[in-house]
């Protein structure tokens, strides 16, 4: 049974989402089920924002090119000769041929059709025979302007972000509040140790449900009993970058952030999530710890924070490692979580840290796998045509509601 709403019904439903948390409803079912809604999100939610599309570590050296598909858009992630990460549409400016099928280091980006060739800055190097056999000059072509079409990109916390519509404020401007909040981590070099520090989860769920679940700590004692052994619910606090009034309740009273506006009229990026005051898992029986990032405030000895940077990047910071999850939306009810862990110091890549790295990866994998039945269960529940989007528990669900509100506002924008 279709859950698609007509434009008036959709506007009415989304208007109920953007209200205060104590009266709001969640996003309507069509937001999780319908291909038309998903297609509109591509433009209004992802295209208008800074969306995560991959990881800089997947471009291991200069001249590396990685083709990806993001929401049906063929892109190439490129590390240029100056070691800068850049993103282009994976399409030849000539006849629209897809340029690159396989990742690798390549000296030039050559179209396999007529061999139009581009450098890693996107500039045309040659258009062979374009002016006739043996003549590579075509009056209509200007090598400097008929290059690859670049997509705005930015690397933060190891993640490659893109702004597809080119209209969002610069990444650092759009995310100034998060950069300020995590200023101690933002410019620290990160060490990725290879395959033992990454994994992915294929989920039968809409991308938003993975975000929603990540935003809140409410579910921790029920879904993550292992976490609860060292980080109890009452040790957690909300993180919200928005214009919401401060929510009441135990978990929110520690450091809820109530700052600048985030609504359909405001273009800055929003985020929400949760933090813990007692992060300190024991990964080695002898008490050994991973080395910490430089010059951290003492509060990070036990504190850790987990933020969903809307729309699709989930981040976590700890004194000794961070992680990033890029949620790849594959369809209304299909998503892939790409999870990568980064360490504070390069020596952690060494063999003598291998066992602890493996234990840390296993710990996070267990946590994220424990969430799978939840995000897939909520997806199944959304087929209940009588479900109205659900209510929020104001004390505990304010970060989740903030995401609903942001996503609804994006869809309400003209």
């Amino acid at each position: 049974m279709t859950q698609m709403l007509n434009p008036e019904e959709r506007r009415a439903a989304l208007s109920k989402v953007v209200g205060d948390v104590d009266v709001a409803l969640g996003l309507p079912n069509e937001a999780y089920l319908e291909a038309d809604y998903f297609a509109e999100e591509k433009k209004k939610v992802f295209g208008a924002s800074w969306a995560g599309v991959g990881f800089a570590k997947d471009l291991p050296e200069a001249l590396w090119v990685q083709p990806i598909d993001f929401l049906g858009e063929p892109l190439i992630l490129v590390r240029d000769r100056q070691d800068q990460v850049r993103v282009f549409y994976n399409v030849c400016r000539h006849r629209g041929m897809k340029l690159v099928e396989e990742p690798g280091k390549m000296n030039v980006i050559r179209c396999p059709y007529h061999s139009w060739s581009y450098d890693h800055g996107g500039a045309l190097k040659i258009t062979p025979h374009a002016g006739g056999p043996g003549n590579n000059i075509c009056g209509r072509l200007e090598k400097d302007v008929t290059g690859l079409i670049e997509v705005r990109s930015h690397v933060f916390m190891g993640v490659i972000f893109v702004n597809l519509d080119g209209q969002a404020p610069a990444f650092k401007e759009a995310n100034a509040k998060l950069l300020e909040r995590w200023s101690e981590f933002a410019d620290q070099p990160l060490t990725h140790t290879g395959e033992d520090s990454g994994f992915k989860l294929s989920l039968d769920t809409n991308w938003k449900l993975a975000v929603e679940n990540y935003c809140e700590s409410y579910h921790l004692p029920w879904v993550h009993p292992s976490l609860n052994s060292y980080s109890r619910l009452e040790d957690h606090y909300h993180i919200m970058q928005n214009d919401e009034p401060q929510a009441s309740g135990a978990a929110s009273q520690v450091t809820s952030q109530v700052t600048s506006q985030v609504t359909s009229q405001v273009t800055s990026q929003a985020f929400s999530g949760q933090g813990t005051l007692v992060y300190s898992p024991m990964l080695a029986e002898d008490g050994r710890r991973f080395p910490a990032f430089d010059a951290l405030d003492a509060k990070w000895d036990k504190q850790a924070e987990y933020v969903a940077l809307y729309p699709n990047v989930l981040l976590g910071v700890h004194k000794d490692h961070s992680f990033a999850i890029v949620i790849e939306p594959k369809g209304p009810n299909q998503s892939v979580e790409h999870i990568e862990i980064f360490y504070a110091k390069p020596e952690v890549a060494g063999a003598d840290w291998q066992a602890m790295r493996a234990k840390n990866t296993a710990m996070w994998k267990l946590v994220f796998e424990e969430d799978v039945f939840v995000v897939e269960g909520m997806q199944k529940g959304r087929s209940a045509s009588g479900f109205d989007g659900g209510v929020f528990a104001p004390a505990m669900d304010a970060p989740t509601h903030l995401f609903h509100r942001w996503a609804a506002s994006k869809m309400l924008a003209e």
């Binding site: 000296n107 050559r110 040659i126 043996g134």
Partner: protein, 73 residues
């Protein structure tokens, strides 16, 4: 255009993705060609394969030849 290189060697290089050898063979053909059109044709292929191989020597030779002929900007 008269063949000025071993087709078998060239085809093997192309099949194996050996752009360096292909670039050198095409450059050799360009420099031995009997007329400017043939030279430009071969030099064009030498240039593309040199770009792929990262062979700056052949890239400069083929590119230089094409530019002198007004066939590459």
């Amino acid at each position: 255009m008269a063949p000025v290189m071993s087709d078998a060697v060239l085809f093997r290089a192309l099949e194996n993705g050996d752009h360096k050898t292909a670039a050198q063979l095409y450059m050799q053909a360009a420099e031995q060609a009997g007329d400017s059109d043939a030279a430009a044709f071969y030099a064009t292929h030498a240039y593309v394969h040199a770009l792929q191989a990262g062979d700056t020597a052949v890239e400069q030779r083929s590119g230089g030849l094409l530019r002198r002929m007004g066939r590459l900007r």
